[in-house]
Protein backbone atom coordinates (compact mmCIF):
# COMPACT_ATOMS: atom_id res chain seq x y z
CA UNK A 1 0.00 0.00 0.00
CA UNK A 2 1.34 3.48 -0.85
CA UNK A 3 2.41 5.64 2.10
CA UNK A 4 -0.01 7.95 3.89
CA UNK A 5 0.46 11.55 2.72
CA UNK A 6 -2.24 13.49 4.50
CA UNK A 7 -3.78 12.65 7.86
CA UNK A 8 -6.87 14.40 9.13
CA UNK A 9 -7.70 13.43 12.71
CA UNK A 10 -10.88 14.44 14.52
CA UNK A 11 -11.04 17.81 12.80
CA UNK A 12 -13.82 20.16 13.87
CA UNK A 13 -14.07 23.42 11.98
CA UNK A 14 -16.00 26.48 12.99
CA UNK A 15 -16.22 29.92 11.46
CA UNK A 16 -17.96 33.11 12.42
CA UNK A 17 -20.42 35.03 10.31
CA UNK A 18 -21.53 38.43 11.59
CA UNK A 19 -24.51 36.75 13.30
CA UNK A 20 -23.62 33.11 13.92
CA UNK A 21 -20.89 30.73 14.91
CA UNK A 22 -21.19 28.00 12.30
CA UNK A 23 -19.84 24.50 12.83
CA UNK A 24 -18.82 23.35 9.37
CA UNK A 25 -17.44 19.88 10.12
CA UNK A 26 -17.48 17.78 13.27
CA UNK A 27 -14.67 15.37 14.19
CA UNK A 28 -13.78 14.33 10.68
CA UNK A 29 -11.13 11.64 10.20
CA UNK A 30 -9.62 10.50 6.96
CA UNK A 31 -6.25 9.84 5.43
CA UNK A 32 -5.07 10.31 1.87
CA UNK A 33 -2.41 7.99 0.50
CA UNK A 34 0.22 8.83 -2.09
CA UNK A 35 -1.31 8.77 -5.58
CA UNK A 36 -4.92 8.85 -4.40
CA UNK A 37 -7.60 10.68 -6.27
CA UNK A 38 -9.41 11.35 -3.04
CA UNK A 39 -12.89 12.83 -3.28
CA UNK A 40 -14.76 14.65 -0.55
CA UNK A 41 -18.42 14.37 -1.49
CA UNK A 42 -21.36 15.88 0.28
CA UNK A 43 -24.43 18.04 -0.15
CA UNK A 44 -24.17 21.83 -0.24
CA UNK A 45 -23.31 23.25 3.16
CA UNK A 46 -21.71 20.10 4.57
CA UNK A 47 -18.42 21.91 5.12
CA UNK A 48 -16.46 20.15 2.41
CA UNK A 49 -14.97 23.36 0.98
CA UNK A 50 -14.17 24.55 4.50
CA UNK A 51 -12.41 21.25 5.12
CA UNK A 52 -10.33 21.77 1.97
CA UNK A 53 -9.45 25.30 3.07
CA UNK A 54 -8.31 23.91 6.41
CA UNK A 55 -6.04 21.44 4.62
CA UNK A 56 -4.80 24.38 2.55
CA UNK A 57 -3.84 26.08 5.81
CA UNK A 58 -6.29 28.95 5.48
CA UNK A 59 -8.24 28.00 8.57
CA UNK A 60 -7.03 26.43 11.81
CA UNK A 61 -9.16 23.56 13.18
CA UNK A 62 -10.95 24.10 16.51
CA UNK A 63 -10.01 20.58 17.50
CA UNK A 64 -8.10 17.74 15.90
CA UNK A 65 -5.06 17.87 13.68
CA UNK A 66 -4.12 18.00 10.02
CA UNK A 67 -0.73 16.58 9.11
CA UNK A 68 0.96 16.40 5.76
CA UNK A 69 3.90 13.98 5.62
CA UNK A 70 3.71 13.98 9.42
CA UNK A 71 4.13 17.75 9.67
CA UNK A 72 1.37 19.84 11.21
CA UNK A 73 -0.38 22.21 8.76
CA UNK A 74 -0.36 25.72 10.23
CA UNK A 75 -0.23 28.10 7.25
CA UNK A 76 -0.84 28.10 3.49
CA UNK A 77 2.09 26.79 1.53
CA UNK A 78 3.13 25.77 -1.97
CA UNK A 79 3.32 22.09 -0.96
CA UNK A 80 -0.50 22.17 -1.12
CA UNK A 81 -1.51 23.95 -4.31
CA UNK A 82 -5.15 24.91 -4.54
CA UNK A 83 -7.31 25.03 -7.65
CA UNK A 84 -10.51 27.00 -7.08
CA UNK A 85 -13.86 26.99 -8.76
CA UNK A 86 -13.71 30.72 -9.57
CA UNK A 87 -11.88 31.90 -12.68
CA UNK A 88 -10.58 34.90 -10.71
CA UNK A 89 -7.84 32.72 -9.29
CA UNK A 90 -5.69 33.60 -12.34
CA UNK A 91 -3.84 36.89 -12.33
CA UNK A 92 -5.43 39.01 -15.04
CA UNK A 93 -2.23 41.06 -15.42
CA UNK A 94 -0.16 38.04 -16.39
CA UNK A 95 -0.24 35.98 -19.57
CA UNK A 96 -0.90 32.23 -19.47
CA UNK A 97 2.84 31.66 -19.48
CA UNK A 98 3.54 34.18 -16.70
CA UNK A 99 0.67 32.82 -14.61
CA UNK A 100 2.12 29.30 -14.75
CA UNK A 101 5.65 30.53 -14.11
CA UNK A 102 4.73 32.90 -11.25
CA UNK A 103 4.48 30.41 -8.32
CA UNK A 104 7.79 28.81 -9.30
CA UNK A 105 9.44 32.24 -9.42
CA UNK A 106 8.01 33.25 -6.05
CA UNK A 107 8.82 30.03 -4.22
CA UNK A 108 12.24 29.54 -5.88
CA UNK A 109 11.61 25.81 -5.70
CA UNK A 110 13.36 25.31 -9.04
CA UNK A 111 16.28 27.01 -10.77
CA UNK A 112 15.35 29.59 -13.39
CA UNK A 113 16.11 27.32 -16.35
CA UNK A 114 14.18 24.47 -14.75
CA UNK A 115 11.21 26.72 -14.02
CA UNK A 116 11.07 27.93 -17.64
CA UNK A 117 11.23 24.38 -18.96
CA UNK A 118 8.57 23.20 -16.51
CA UNK A 119 6.29 26.07 -17.55
CA UNK A 120 6.54 25.01 -21.20
CA UNK A 121 5.84 21.39 -20.34
CA UNK A 122 2.90 22.19 -18.08
CA UNK A 123 1.27 24.42 -20.70
CA UNK A 124 1.80 21.75 -23.32
CA UNK A 125 0.28 19.09 -21.05
CA UNK A 126 -2.96 21.06 -20.73
CA UNK A 127 -2.94 21.75 -24.49
CA UNK A 128 -2.61 25.53 -24.31
CA UNK A 129 0.68 26.01 -26.18
CA UNK A 130 -1.10 28.13 -28.81
CA UNK A 131 -2.39 30.45 -26.08
CA UNK A 132 0.75 30.83 -23.98
CA UNK A 133 1.11 34.58 -24.55
CA UNK A 134 -2.57 35.41 -24.16
CA UNK A 135 -4.05 37.19 -21.14
CA UNK A 136 -6.67 35.27 -19.14
CA UNK A 137 -9.58 37.52 -20.16
CA UNK A 138 -9.25 36.20 -23.71
CA UNK A 139 -9.70 32.57 -22.63
CA UNK A 140 -12.84 30.50 -22.21
CA UNK A 141 -13.82 29.14 -18.80
CA UNK A 142 -12.43 25.68 -19.53
CA UNK A 143 -9.12 27.14 -20.73
CA UNK A 144 -8.80 29.28 -17.60
CA UNK A 145 -9.34 26.18 -15.50
CA UNK A 146 -6.66 24.37 -17.48
CA UNK A 147 -4.24 27.24 -16.78
CA UNK A 148 -5.03 26.98 -13.07
CA UNK A 149 -4.37 23.24 -13.16
CA UNK A 150 -1.13 23.69 -15.12
CA UNK A 151 0.01 26.35 -12.66
CA UNK A 152 -0.64 24.09 -9.70
CA UNK A 153 0.90 20.99 -11.27
CA UNK A 154 4.02 22.75 -12.56
CA UNK A 155 5.02 23.50 -8.98
CA UNK A 156 4.86 19.76 -8.25
CA UNK A 157 3.09 20.09 -4.90
CA UNK A 158 2.80 17.19 -2.45
CA UNK A 159 -0.93 17.30 -2.95
CA UNK A 160 -3.28 19.13 -5.31
CA UNK A 161 -6.35 20.59 -3.58
CA UNK A 162 -9.26 21.10 -5.95
CA UNK A 163 -12.37 22.90 -4.74
CA UNK A 164 -15.23 22.00 -7.09
CA UNK A 165 -12.97 22.99 -9.97
CA UNK A 166 -15.38 22.11 -12.76
CA UNK A 167 -18.63 23.29 -11.17
CA UNK A 168 -18.70 26.59 -13.06
CA UNK A 169 -18.19 24.95 -16.46
CA UNK A 170 -20.84 23.83 -18.92
CA UNK A 171 -21.63 20.12 -19.05
CA UNK A 172 -19.67 19.39 -22.24
CA UNK A 173 -16.54 21.22 -21.09
CA UNK A 174 -16.82 19.67 -17.64
CA UNK A 175 -16.79 16.18 -19.12
CA UNK A 176 -13.76 16.99 -21.26
CA UNK A 177 -11.96 18.42 -18.23
CA UNK A 178 -12.71 15.33 -16.15
CA UNK A 179 -11.28 13.13 -18.90
CA UNK A 180 -8.21 15.36 -19.27
CA UNK A 181 -7.59 15.32 -15.53
CA UNK A 182 -7.70 11.52 -15.53
CA UNK A 183 -5.37 11.40 -18.54
CA UNK A 184 -2.92 13.67 -16.68
CA UNK A 185 -3.16 11.45 -13.63
CA UNK A 186 -2.36 8.39 -15.76
CA UNK A 187 0.88 10.09 -16.80
CA UNK A 188 1.96 11.61 -13.51
CA UNK A 189 0.18 9.79 -10.65
CA UNK A 190 -0.05 12.94 -8.55
CA UNK A 191 -2.09 13.02 -5.33
CA UNK A 192 -5.26 15.05 -5.48
CA UNK A 193 -7.89 15.95 -2.90
CA UNK A 194 -10.99 16.87 -4.83
CA UNK A 195 -14.17 18.39 -3.44
CA UNK A 196 -17.44 17.97 -5.35
CA UNK A 197 -21.17 17.82 -4.79
CA UNK A 198 -21.80 15.69 -7.87
CA UNK A 199 -22.08 11.94 -7.27
CA UNK A 200 -21.29 11.18 -10.90
CA UNK A 201 -18.17 13.35 -10.88
CA UNK A 202 -17.04 11.74 -7.64
CA UNK A 203 -17.24 8.24 -9.11
CA UNK A 204 -15.70 9.22 -12.46
CA UNK A 205 -12.78 11.22 -11.12
CA UNK A 206 -12.13 9.58 -7.77
CA UNK A 207 -10.33 6.49 -6.62
CA UNK A 208 -11.54 6.89 -3.01
CA UNK A 209 -14.69 8.73 -2.02
CA UNK A 210 -15.32 10.19 1.42
CA UNK A 211 -19.04 10.77 1.89
CA UNK A 212 -19.95 13.52 4.35
CA UNK A 213 -23.31 13.94 6.04
CA UNK A 214 -25.21 17.23 5.77
CA UNK A 215 -24.55 20.14 8.07
CA UNK A 216 -22.36 19.87 10.13
CA UNK A 217 -20.22 17.56 8.00
CA UNK A 218 -19.49 14.20 9.61
CA UNK A 219 -17.94 11.18 7.92
CA UNK A 220 -20.65 8.88 6.56
CA UNK A 221 -18.56 6.45 4.55
CA UNK A 222 -15.35 5.93 2.62
CA UNK A 223 -15.75 4.04 -0.65
CA UNK A 224 -13.45 2.57 -3.27
CA UNK A 225 -14.17 3.87 -6.76
CA UNK A 226 -10.82 3.07 -8.33
CA UNK A 227 -12.33 0.64 -10.81
CA UNK A 228 -15.07 2.94 -12.04
CA UNK A 229 -14.42 5.53 -14.74
CA UNK A 230 -15.67 6.69 -18.13
CA UNK A 231 -15.36 3.18 -19.62
CA UNK A 232 -18.06 1.77 -17.38
CA UNK A 233 -20.49 4.66 -16.94
CA UNK A 234 -23.24 2.49 -18.46
CA UNK A 235 -22.39 -0.64 -16.44
CA UNK A 236 -24.62 -1.80 -13.60
CA UNK A 237 -21.82 -1.47 -11.01
CA UNK A 238 -21.55 2.25 -11.77
CA UNK A 239 -25.27 2.66 -11.24
CA UNK A 240 -25.10 0.58 -8.07
CA UNK A 241 -22.32 2.76 -6.65
CA UNK A 242 -24.24 5.87 -7.56
CA UNK A 243 -27.33 4.53 -5.85
CA UNK A 244 -25.36 3.48 -2.79
CA UNK A 245 -23.90 6.98 -2.37
CA UNK A 246 -27.29 8.47 -3.01
CA UNK A 247 -28.78 6.42 -0.21
CA UNK A 248 -25.93 7.36 2.11
CA UNK A 249 -26.55 11.03 1.42
CA UNK A 250 -30.31 11.14 1.19
CA UNK A 251 -31.51 7.80 2.54
CA UNK A 252 -33.06 9.24 5.67
CA UNK A 253 -35.10 11.75 3.70
CA UNK A 254 -35.98 9.46 0.83
CA UNK A 255 -39.65 10.23 0.97
CA UNK A 256 -38.99 13.85 0.02
CA UNK A 257 -39.26 13.63 -3.72
CA UNK A 258 -36.93 15.80 -5.79
CA UNK A 259 -34.46 16.48 -3.01
CA UNK A 260 -31.81 14.42 -4.80
CA UNK A 261 -31.86 16.43 -8.00
CA UNK A 262 -29.26 18.93 -6.90
CA UNK A 263 -26.65 16.33 -6.17
CA UNK A 264 -26.79 14.22 -9.30
CA UNK A 265 -26.08 16.47 -12.26
Amino acid sequence: MPPVLLEVNGVTLQYKTPRHLVTATYQVDFSVHQGDRYIILGPSGCGKSTLLKAVGGFMPPVEGSIRIRGREVDAPGPDRMMVFQEFEQLMPWKTVYQNVLFPMKVTRKFTRAEALARTETAIEKVKLTKFRDVYPHMLSGGMKMRVAIARAMALEPDILLMDEPFAALDAITRRAMQQDLLALWDQLHFTVLFVTHSIQEAILVGSRILVLSPHPGRVRAELDASKLDFSNVDMPEFGAMSKRIHNLLFGDEHHRAGSHKEATH
Binding site: G56, F58, W93, Y135
Partner: protein, 296 residues
Protein backbone atom coordinates in the same frame (compact mmCIF):
# COMPACT_ATOMS: atom_id res chain seq x y z
CA UNK B 1 -57.22 22.08 -28.75
CA UNK B 2 -57.27 18.88 -26.75
CA UNK B 3 -54.49 18.86 -24.04
CA UNK B 4 -53.95 15.12 -24.06
CA UNK B 5 -50.24 14.41 -23.30
CA UNK B 6 -50.27 11.29 -25.49
CA UNK B 7 -51.17 13.29 -28.56
CA UNK B 8 -48.16 15.58 -27.92
CA UNK B 9 -45.81 12.60 -27.79
CA UNK B 10 -47.40 11.26 -30.94
CA UNK B 11 -46.92 14.54 -32.78
CA UNK B 12 -43.23 14.73 -31.73
CA UNK B 13 -42.61 11.11 -32.60
CA UNK B 14 -44.48 11.25 -35.89
CA UNK B 15 -42.18 13.78 -37.55
CA UNK B 16 -39.17 12.36 -39.38
CA UNK B 17 -35.66 12.75 -37.87
CA UNK B 18 -32.79 13.83 -40.05
CA UNK B 19 -29.02 14.50 -40.07
CA UNK B 20 -27.33 16.69 -42.67
CA UNK B 21 -23.82 17.95 -43.43
CA UNK B 22 -23.30 21.69 -42.76
CA UNK B 23 -23.94 23.70 -45.92
CA UNK B 24 -21.16 25.55 -47.71
CA UNK B 25 -20.79 29.03 -46.17
CA UNK B 26 -18.61 30.42 -48.97
CA UNK B 27 -21.59 32.12 -50.59
CA UNK B 28 -21.56 35.05 -48.06
CA UNK B 29 -17.96 35.79 -49.01
CA UNK B 30 -15.17 36.10 -46.45
CA UNK B 31 -16.12 35.19 -42.89
CA UNK B 32 -13.98 38.10 -41.74
CA UNK B 33 -13.15 41.19 -43.81
CA UNK B 34 -11.24 44.37 -42.94
CA UNK B 35 -13.38 47.51 -42.60
CA UNK B 36 -13.21 50.00 -45.45
CA UNK B 37 -11.15 53.18 -45.09
CA UNK B 38 -14.23 55.37 -44.53
CA UNK B 39 -15.58 53.03 -41.84
CA UNK B 40 -12.23 53.02 -40.06
CA UNK B 41 -11.92 56.83 -40.16
CA UNK B 42 -15.48 57.34 -38.87
CA UNK B 43 -15.05 54.89 -35.99
CA UNK B 44 -11.60 56.19 -35.02
CA UNK B 45 -11.70 57.73 -31.55
CA UNK B 46 -9.12 60.44 -32.17
CA UNK B 47 -10.90 61.50 -35.37
CA UNK B 48 -14.10 61.87 -33.37
CA UNK B 49 -12.36 63.86 -30.64
CA UNK B 50 -10.68 66.08 -33.20
CA UNK B 51 -14.04 66.78 -34.84
CA UNK B 52 -15.43 67.96 -31.50
CA UNK B 53 -12.43 70.29 -31.08
CA UNK B 54 -12.72 71.72 -34.60
CA UNK B 55 -16.45 72.42 -34.14
CA UNK B 56 -15.82 74.13 -30.77
CA UNK B 57 -13.06 76.30 -32.25
CA UNK B 58 -15.27 77.27 -35.21
CA UNK B 59 -18.13 78.28 -32.88
CA UNK B 60 -15.71 80.29 -30.70
CA UNK B 61 -14.16 82.11 -33.68
CA UNK B 62 -17.52 82.93 -35.28
CA UNK B 63 -19.09 84.13 -32.01
CA UNK B 64 -16.09 86.31 -31.10
CA UNK B 65 -16.05 87.87 -34.58
CA UNK B 66 -19.76 88.57 -34.38
CA UNK B 67 -19.33 90.10 -30.88
CA UNK B 68 -16.25 91.99 -32.04
CA UNK B 69 -15.13 93.01 -28.53
CA UNK B 70 -11.64 91.72 -27.78
CA UNK B 71 -11.81 93.03 -24.19
CA UNK B 72 -14.68 90.68 -23.38
CA UNK B 73 -14.13 87.81 -25.76
CA UNK B 74 -11.06 87.67 -28.03
CA UNK B 75 -11.20 85.51 -31.15
CA UNK B 76 -9.51 82.13 -31.35
CA UNK B 77 -6.96 83.45 -33.83
CA UNK B 78 -6.04 86.35 -31.55
CA UNK B 79 -5.69 83.98 -28.58
CA UNK B 80 -3.45 81.70 -30.58
CA UNK B 81 -1.32 84.66 -31.71
CA UNK B 82 -0.82 85.78 -28.10
CA UNK B 83 -0.15 82.18 -27.07
CA UNK B 84 2.57 81.77 -29.71
CA UNK B 85 4.01 85.15 -28.90
CA UNK B 86 4.37 84.32 -25.19
CA UNK B 87 5.76 80.92 -25.98
CA UNK B 88 8.41 82.29 -28.32
CA UNK B 89 9.47 85.00 -25.87
CA UNK B 90 9.69 82.36 -23.15
CA UNK B 91 7.29 83.91 -20.61
CA UNK B 92 4.61 81.26 -20.88
CA UNK B 93 7.11 78.38 -20.88
CA UNK B 94 8.78 79.80 -17.80
CA UNK B 95 5.46 80.20 -15.96
CA UNK B 96 4.29 76.74 -16.97
CA UNK B 97 7.48 75.13 -15.72
CA UNK B 98 7.24 76.93 -12.41
CA UNK B 99 3.72 75.52 -12.00
CA UNK B 100 4.67 72.03 -13.12
CA UNK B 101 7.62 71.88 -10.73
CA UNK B 102 5.40 72.73 -7.78
CA UNK B 103 2.79 70.30 -9.06
CA UNK B 104 5.27 67.44 -9.43
CA UNK B 105 6.54 68.03 -5.90
CA UNK B 106 3.03 68.13 -4.38
CA UNK B 107 1.71 65.25 -6.45
CA UNK B 108 4.72 63.09 -5.65
CA UNK B 109 4.55 63.78 -1.92
CA UNK B 110 0.77 63.23 -1.96
CA UNK B 111 1.21 59.84 -3.65
CA UNK B 112 3.94 58.81 -1.24
CA UNK B 113 1.76 59.72 1.74
CA UNK B 114 -1.24 57.94 0.19
CA UNK B 115 0.88 54.80 -0.28
CA UNK B 116 2.03 55.01 3.33
CA UNK B 117 -1.50 55.52 4.67
CA UNK B 118 -3.06 52.70 2.64
CA UNK B 119 -0.26 50.30 3.55
CA UNK B 120 -1.04 50.90 7.21
CA UNK B 121 -4.74 50.67 6.48
CA UNK B 122 -4.62 47.26 4.77
CA UNK B 123 -2.47 45.84 7.53
CA UNK B 124 -5.39 45.76 9.98
CA UNK B 125 -9.12 46.30 10.28
CA UNK B 126 -8.58 49.21 12.66
CA UNK B 127 -6.29 50.89 10.14
CA UNK B 128 -8.93 50.52 7.44
CA UNK B 129 -11.54 52.21 9.61
CA UNK B 130 -9.19 55.03 10.61
CA UNK B 131 -8.36 55.76 6.98
CA UNK B 132 -12.04 55.50 5.92
CA UNK B 133 -12.96 58.05 8.57
CA UNK B 134 -10.11 60.37 7.62
CA UNK B 135 -10.95 60.26 3.90
CA UNK B 136 -14.64 60.77 4.65
CA UNK B 137 -13.70 63.86 6.68
CA UNK B 138 -11.08 65.45 4.45
CA UNK B 139 -12.03 64.40 0.92
CA UNK B 140 -15.01 66.79 0.71
CA UNK B 141 -12.94 69.66 2.16
CA UNK B 142 -11.86 71.91 -0.77
CA UNK B 143 -8.11 72.35 -0.85
CA UNK B 144 -8.51 76.08 -1.51
CA UNK B 145 -10.35 76.40 1.82
CA UNK B 146 -7.10 75.34 3.49
CA UNK B 147 -5.09 78.04 1.75
CA UNK B 148 -5.55 80.70 4.47
CA UNK B 149 -4.38 78.19 7.04
CA UNK B 150 -1.45 77.20 4.83
CA UNK B 151 -0.46 80.85 4.56
CA UNK B 152 -0.44 81.17 8.35
CA UNK B 153 1.59 77.99 8.79
CA UNK B 154 4.00 78.14 5.88
CA UNK B 155 3.87 81.75 4.69
CA UNK B 156 3.76 83.04 1.16
CA UNK B 157 5.63 80.58 -1.03
CA UNK B 158 5.98 77.15 -2.52
CA UNK B 159 5.52 75.22 0.79
CA UNK B 160 1.95 76.55 1.09
CA UNK B 161 1.17 75.51 -2.49
CA UNK B 162 2.67 72.08 -1.93
CA UNK B 163 0.62 71.71 1.25
CA UNK B 164 -2.71 72.34 -0.49
CA UNK B 165 -1.75 70.12 -3.43
CA UNK B 166 -0.88 67.27 -1.06
CA UNK B 167 -4.25 67.71 0.58
CA UNK B 168 -6.06 67.55 -2.75
CA UNK B 169 -4.15 64.45 -3.95
CA UNK B 170 -3.79 62.41 -0.78
CA UNK B 171 -7.42 61.67 0.10
CA UNK B 172 -8.62 61.00 -3.44
CA UNK B 173 -5.80 58.56 -4.12
CA UNK B 174 -5.99 56.90 -0.70
CA UNK B 175 -9.75 56.45 -1.00
CA UNK B 176 -9.50 54.85 -4.43
CA UNK B 177 -6.55 52.66 -3.56
CA UNK B 178 -8.21 51.41 -0.40
CA UNK B 179 -11.48 50.60 -2.13
CA UNK B 180 -9.45 48.89 -4.88
CA UNK B 181 -7.63 46.75 -2.31
CA UNK B 182 -10.89 45.82 -0.65
CA UNK B 183 -12.47 44.69 -3.90
CA UNK B 184 -9.69 42.23 -4.79
CA UNK B 185 -11.48 38.87 -5.12
CA UNK B 186 -11.01 36.48 -2.20
CA UNK B 187 -9.93 33.69 -4.57
CA UNK B 188 -7.10 35.81 -5.94
CA UNK B 189 -5.96 36.67 -2.42
CA UNK B 190 -5.99 33.01 -1.49
CA UNK B 191 -4.02 31.96 -4.55
CA UNK B 192 -1.43 34.54 -3.58
CA UNK B 193 -1.20 33.36 0.00
CA UNK B 194 -1.23 29.77 -1.22
CA UNK B 195 2.25 30.17 -2.67
CA UNK B 196 3.48 31.71 0.57
CA UNK B 197 3.27 35.43 -0.28
CA UNK B 198 3.13 37.64 2.80
CA UNK B 199 3.56 41.27 3.85
CA UNK B 200 5.10 43.69 1.37
CA UNK B 201 5.56 41.02 -1.33
CA UNK B 202 1.87 40.12 -1.06
CA UNK B 203 0.86 43.79 -1.38
CA UNK B 204 3.27 44.43 -4.24
CA UNK B 205 2.74 41.27 -6.27
CA UNK B 206 -0.97 40.64 -5.69
CA UNK B 207 -2.91 43.56 -4.20
CA UNK B 208 -1.45 46.45 -6.18
CA UNK B 209 -1.77 44.90 -9.65
CA UNK B 210 -5.18 43.44 -8.79
CA UNK B 211 -6.41 46.84 -7.61
CA UNK B 212 -4.70 48.71 -10.43
CA UNK B 213 -7.88 49.89 -12.20
CA UNK B 214 -8.97 51.67 -9.00
CA UNK B 215 -5.47 52.94 -8.28
CA UNK B 216 -5.24 54.38 -11.79
CA UNK B 217 -8.63 56.04 -11.40
CA UNK B 218 -7.33 57.53 -8.14
CA UNK B 219 -4.18 58.80 -9.85
CA UNK B 220 -6.29 60.47 -12.54
CA UNK B 221 -8.66 62.11 -10.08
CA UNK B 222 -5.71 63.14 -7.89
CA UNK B 223 -3.92 64.70 -10.87
CA UNK B 224 -7.01 66.69 -11.90
CA UNK B 225 -7.58 67.89 -8.32
CA UNK B 226 -3.92 68.87 -7.96
CA UNK B 227 -3.77 70.81 -11.23
CA UNK B 228 -7.02 72.61 -10.49
CA UNK B 229 -5.97 73.44 -6.94
CA UNK B 230 -2.57 74.71 -8.02
CA UNK B 231 -3.87 77.08 -10.69
CA UNK B 232 -6.52 78.39 -8.30
CA UNK B 233 -4.04 78.82 -5.44
CA UNK B 234 -1.62 80.71 -7.66
CA UNK B 235 -4.46 83.01 -8.64
CA UNK B 236 -5.22 83.71 -5.01
CA UNK B 237 -1.79 84.50 -3.70
CA UNK B 238 -0.04 85.22 -6.92
CA UNK B 239 3.68 85.44 -7.17
CA UNK B 240 5.96 83.56 -4.85
CA UNK B 241 9.63 84.60 -4.66
CA UNK B 242 10.61 85.88 -8.10
CA UNK B 243 8.79 83.76 -10.68
CA UNK B 244 5.03 83.06 -10.66
CA UNK B 245 3.23 80.13 -12.16
CA UNK B 246 0.54 79.85 -14.79
CA UNK B 247 -2.13 81.09 -12.36
CA UNK B 248 -0.09 84.21 -11.76
CA UNK B 249 0.25 84.67 -15.54
CA UNK B 250 -3.55 84.71 -15.83
CA UNK B 251 -3.96 87.01 -12.82
CA UNK B 252 -1.40 89.50 -14.15
CA UNK B 253 -3.08 89.62 -17.55
CA UNK B 254 -6.44 90.27 -15.92
CA UNK B 255 -4.96 93.23 -14.02
CA UNK B 256 -3.78 94.62 -17.37
CA UNK B 257 -7.23 93.91 -18.90
CA UNK B 258 -5.35 91.85 -21.48
CA UNK B 259 -8.12 89.33 -22.15
CA UNK B 260 -6.31 87.57 -24.99
CA UNK B 261 -3.49 86.72 -22.60
CA UNK B 262 -6.01 85.50 -20.01
CA UNK B 263 -7.40 83.23 -22.70
CA UNK B 264 -3.95 82.08 -23.71
CA UNK B 265 -3.27 81.17 -20.05
CA UNK B 266 -6.52 79.24 -19.84
CA UNK B 267 -5.65 77.54 -23.12
CA UNK B 268 -2.34 76.44 -21.62
CA UNK B 269 -4.12 75.01 -18.56
CA UNK B 270 -6.50 73.10 -20.83
CA UNK B 271 -3.76 71.87 -23.17
CA UNK B 272 -1.67 70.51 -20.31
CA UNK B 273 -4.78 68.85 -18.86
CA UNK B 274 -5.58 67.28 -22.23
CA UNK B 275 -2.01 66.12 -22.70
CA UNK B 276 -1.75 64.44 -19.30
CA UNK B 277 -5.18 62.86 -19.58
CA UNK B 278 -5.19 61.71 -23.19
CA UNK B 279 -1.51 61.03 -23.79
CA UNK B 280 0.11 60.02 -20.50
CA UNK B 281 -2.80 58.34 -18.71
CA UNK B 282 -4.16 56.93 -21.98
CA UNK B 283 -0.83 55.27 -22.72
CA UNK B 284 -0.66 53.93 -19.18
CA UNK B 285 -4.16 52.48 -19.50
CA UNK B 286 -3.45 50.90 -22.86
CA UNK B 287 -0.37 49.16 -21.45
CA UNK B 288 -2.07 47.97 -18.28
CA UNK B 289 -5.78 47.69 -17.52
CA UNK B 290 -6.92 47.59 -21.16
CA UNK B 291 -4.33 44.99 -22.07
CA UNK B 292 -5.32 42.87 -19.06
CA UNK B 293 -9.02 43.11 -19.86
CA UNK B 294 -9.72 44.68 -16.47
CA UNK B 295 -11.27 47.74 -18.09
CA UNK B 296 -12.68 48.48 -21.53
Amino acid sequence: MNEDPHSKIASAAGRPEFEIEPSDAISIGDVERPLSLVERVVYNESVQRLTVLVVLIAVWELYARWLSNSLLFPTFSETVRTFWGDISNGVLIDRTFTSLRTLALGYGLGLALAALFTTFAVASGVGTRILSTLTAMFNPLPAIALLPLALIWFGLGTPSLVFVIIHSVLWAVALNTLSGFRSVPETLRMSGRNIGLKGARYVGLILIPAAFPSILAGLKIGWAFAWRTLVAAELVFGVSSRSGGIGWYIFEARNDLDTATVFSGLLTVILIGLFVESVIFRALEARTVNLWGMQR
